[in-house]
Subunit: 258 residues, 2 copies
């Protein structure tokens, strides 16, 4: 039997497409059976699941409200061009990372004002692949709980620990600690020839401006990905998510020692 959603319920859910309301309600939206499955398997707290008859929950989880709705209603609450059969509301986690324990035991990524939601989603997904569990974002980085990012992570949002801090706080912390801090630059030492520590901190810079002057002060190792162009025409660069992939892969390759 279908529930009827009230227009105020529909409005509340649609509001979650907007960062202001996500912060106010402390909720984000996840859509699609695979993503919802991955999230229910994680430590994230699901509050509501809206589904059409095409989907059925394997087991109903305690503390979750389930609403069977029609596909017309799904269209009204979905943020996707092609709505799927299930939409979940998920509590935005407030990770209780001890600031003192942030760095130094395993690889950590720091995102310095990454702007593009697609890039952010891709970076979260590849961090998950490479077992990098801590991602620290500056306050100026795109919202990881926006629908575009959540969908682009393909479930990885449920498996990484992600927290936002003011850049100044992160920099102060890094300055006070003796951890290897790496930054990616167009000039620097070839990553393939650099000494890479598995307890390092990798800073990834903004799409247009790269790593900020403030963060640059704490970078101890300037890494670069060598280019193999055979001509000097044009102005090559790598997308930040592409660079992140290559850097993370190289760190992990060294770990397994091949």
């Amino acid at each position: 039997m279908n529930n009827m959603l009230s227009s105020s319920q529909i409005k509340s859910i649609k509001n979650l497409q907007n960062k202001k309301f996500r912060r106010e309600y402390n909720l984000f939206v996840a859509e699609g059976p695979r993503l919802v499955h991955d999230i229910t398997q994680s430590w994230l707290e699901v509050t509501d699941i809206f589904f059409t008859p095409a989907w059925s929950p394997a087991t109903r989880m305690e503390g979750v409200r389930y609403f069977q709705i029609g596909s017309k209603e799904m269209e009204r609450i979905s943020g996707l061009t092609t709505p799927s059969e299930v939409l979940a509301l998920v509590r935005i986690p407030s990770h209780t990372i001890e600031f003192d324990a942030l760095f130094g035991d395993d690889l950590t990524l720091i995102l310095d004002d990454i702007q593009d939601p697609g890039n952010l989603g891709t970076i979260i997904r590849l961090a998950d692949w490479f077992g990098i569990e801590k991602i620290i974002c500056t306050a100026g980085t795109a919202d990881a709980y926006s629908p575009k990012v959540v969908q682009a992570t393909m479930g990885s949002i449920a498996r990484v620990t992600l927290a936002y801090y003011d850049a100044a706080n992160i920099i102060a912390k890094l300055s006070a600690m003796d951890v290897p801090v790496y930054g990616t630059y167009l000039d620097g030492e070839s990553i393939f020839r650099s000494d890479l520590k598995q307890n390092g901190v990798i800073i990834l810079g903004n799409e247009g401006n790269g790593i900020s002057k403030e963060f640059e002060q704490v970078v101890k190792h300037r890494l670069t990905i060598p280019s193999f162009v055979k001509h000097d025409k044009g102005s090559q660069s790598l997308n930040v998510a592409t660079a992140a992939a290559i850097v993370c892969a190289e760190f992990r390759r060294r770990k397994i020692g091949s």
Copy 2:
């Protein structure tokens, strides 16, 4: 002094947002000073440049028509949300790649039905970075001359040789040649431990389905990018452009022998 564009001129330019018309006119659109600069420096043939007073051509190239227009007119012909100060019409190249010389002398990428324009643009850009000049696309791959792809390549579209063929033709050619053919899979030999030849052909598969059954028959080396996840929850995978970046970087790292 400003030219006035006729409404049929405006319509023709806007039509180029659409693949059908790009094929009919054999033209594509490039926007923004950096992209237009990179294209004018390449072997691509520019036919028309539309610019506002904010832009001025360093030297006027022979055979190119220049139109100074107002920013209102730029808004009418631009495909960008925020129009820039220059828009060029560029002839779609018909690369005269000898099919016989396609494979075997340096790395070649084969894109097997890559669907997402962002992924395609990212792959073209990273191929350029790594000096991989030949990109062969199946007919089912997204159009590399669509505005989204052209803009995402950040000028790299002007520096790679890219051609479309029917998958069956490419497969027949590969079957008849003794070249190392690599494919990326979720299972396979770790790319970090595999023998990688610099004259190889790397097949990248469709976002949802991976490498097709037909192409699989010619794959001689199944490569995988090892995952470092510490738990078995969820269903990790890497985005195809991310995987392409790691694979290309690893091939090139071997080349420089570090």
